[in-house]
Every structure is written in C-alpha cells, then in structure tokens.
Symmetry: C2
C-alpha cells in the first residue's frame, strides 16, 4: 500500500475491458505503490458518491465516478495502445482531454511503436489512397495526419504541453507487457514527488 498522503494518479485505459479487470487494476496499482504513488483504477469506488448519483443508470453513474476520480487526482496515466483500430480507446482519450483541461500532467504509454501515419496506412493496406501531393488518405478519402507522431496530434501535444511524457515500444504481447507503463509511473513520480 502507498502512504496515506501519496499523490493520486488516475489510470485511464481499456484495461477496464480486460477479462479479469480487477486483477489488472491491482497489478497497475501495485506498480504505482512501488513508486510512492496511489494509483486510482476506474473501477475503484470513489470516497463519496452524491446521493443523487445513486438513482442514475449504471453507465451514467460510472462516468460521474470516473470524472470525480480524475478531478481528485494529481496526474493521469493513459494506456494508449491502439484499440479496435489505428488509434487509442476513445474512453481513455476522453479522460486524457478532461485532465488536460484541468491543467495537470498527463502521461501516455503504448505497446505499439510504429508512428500513427505508417500504422494507419498499414491498417488500411491496399485500400489506403495516396494523392498526387504524396499525402495518404483512408478509403473514405479522409486525410491521414503525417506529423511523425504516435497518434492524433491533440494527444501527443497535450502530453508534451502538460509536462508529461509518452513512452512506446513494440511489445510481443500488447495487452500484457507493462514496461512502458512502469516508465510512465516513474516519470509521474519524478514530477509529483521529485524523485
């Protein structure tokens, strides 16, 4: 267990959809504790739930609790490993944008190392289109960003501007390897605890 006054870090990610999500959360929180941080997993029960929330449909109550968790945290670490397509999970990215607006540091990690442009072109394979200007487009003729970044520019830029960091490497098992997560935790501990 981390000390009572350990800085709280919200752990955003599709990890909540894992086959054994509570066990996954416990694993992530244990790594945070080793670095003197209190990892907050989305499935954790918030300290206080306003009584009005109890009457909300489950999905809406979960969302309010997650927003409250983020507001009560000093930083956010997001699992940005591509999810069901070339980009990160939208729920995770919603939370990243939410914390960015609060002005606190946001960190990201991904177990895919190929940059966004190449990854998206590969995702579409032979159906990707290349214009006379050299720019890539998807089969719907939508421009594929080409800034040499890891994902949509809002994500990369928010992490950099917030004082956070983005770690990525190609992992043999995208949903098991926690090396990049641990680098995020160490970076967050450095920012929040000066260690």
């Amino acid at each position: 267990m981390p000390p009572e006054d350990a800085p709280r870090v919200y752990l955003a990610g599709p990890d909540v959809f894992f086959p054994d999500a509570p066990a996954r959360g416990a694993m992530l929180k244990a790594i945070c504790a080793q670095h003197g941080l209190h990892g907050v997993f989305p499935l954790d029960a918030p300290a206080d739930i306003p009584s009005a929330w109890k009457a909300l449909p489950e999905a809406h109550r979960i969302a309010r609790c997650n927003e409250a968790h983020i507001r009560a945290s000093a930083a956010l670490i997001a699992n940005l490993t591509p999810f069901r397509g070339p980009s990160a999970d939208v729920g995770t990215v919603f939370e990243l944008g939410f914390m960015r607006a609060l002005g606190r540091p946001v960190f990201g990690w991904s177990n895919a190392a190929t940059p966004f442009t190449e990854r998206t072109v590969a995702h579409f394979g032979a159906t990707a289109l290349r214009g006379a200007d050299g720019a890539w487009r998807d089969p719907d003729c939508m421009l594929i960003e080409a800034f040499g970044l890891a994902d949509n520019l809002m994500i990369d830029a928010a992490i950099a501007a917030s004082g956070g960091a983005y770690f990525m490497a190609e992992a043999a098992d995208r949903w098991a390897d926690l090396a990049m997560f641990e680098r995020c935790v160490a970076a967050a501990a450095s920012v929040l605890r000066g260690v």
Copy 2:
C-alpha cells in the same frame, strides 16, 4: 455572418480531414449563423497566438490553437460518426472531454444509428466472441460495453450530464448529410440563446 456578440460554439469533428476541409468548415459555420451562433472551425485562426507558440512544431501549434478555441467557446458540437472503426474520432473525443471538464454544454451527432454494442459486434463479425454469461468480447477478449448507448459511456454520459444533446440517424451518405448536425445547432441555440 452571425452578429458580433453571437455565442461561440466549437465544431469538433473529423471534418478537418475532409478532402476540402475549408469548404466543409464554411458549410458548418453557415448553418450556425442561421441559428444566431458563431461556429468556430478548428482550422480558424485564433484571435491572438502567443508569440511563444510560433516556434512550436506545426502539430503542437495546431493543438494549442484548438485548445484555445475550446476555452473561448460557450459550447461544443462534436461529429461523433464512427471513424476508422466502431467508435468516434479520438481527436474529437479528446476535445469533448476537454470541454466537459470546463463544465460547459457538449453536444454530439452521428450519422450511424446502430447502438455501440451491435455496431462493434458487427464490426468484428465472425471474430467477435460471446461468453457463457452472454457478454460480447472482441477478438482480443476485451469486453464490448452493453449499456444500450451510442458509443463509449464517457461520451454519452458527458453529453447528458452537461445539458447537451446527442442526435443520431442512419444517413445514406455518412460524410455529407448534415441533418443531425443542424439538430445539434438548433439545440445549442436553444441552450445558449434561449430560442
């Protein structure tokens, strides 16, 4: 042109990736003006750019400008039509989360009417998995949310909690039909202008 003091509404969406994005932006802004709103398209130049931003790489400068546009707007309307997979565009959802944290109304529209669960199961086709508990999982064994919502619960719940609205219908041309967008604009005008 809308009146000088018209409420500003940020127009988030993958529309910036369209083949003729400036023309698309002009079309969206014209509909806003008809409802007495000042539509702010991400490609619009912000009023003031801090001189420090001029030295930033282009992608980071664009992101700072978009964040400034959102902070300067009274509400946000997001094009949440599924983009390169079962969910909305991550850049759009980042901005939705950003505005939600600011506590202002967020609106969403989509030209796909099938709910998230059925849409995601259909996306994976024969590779979707169904457990003994009846829950659907994707080929990576990740749970497919089943709350009867339009997309990830953070999105639906944020729109409802913010005082916004979510409009969706199946459109023959997903990237051309603006009927659901116009319903959002009318709803935003009602909230911001009381009309």
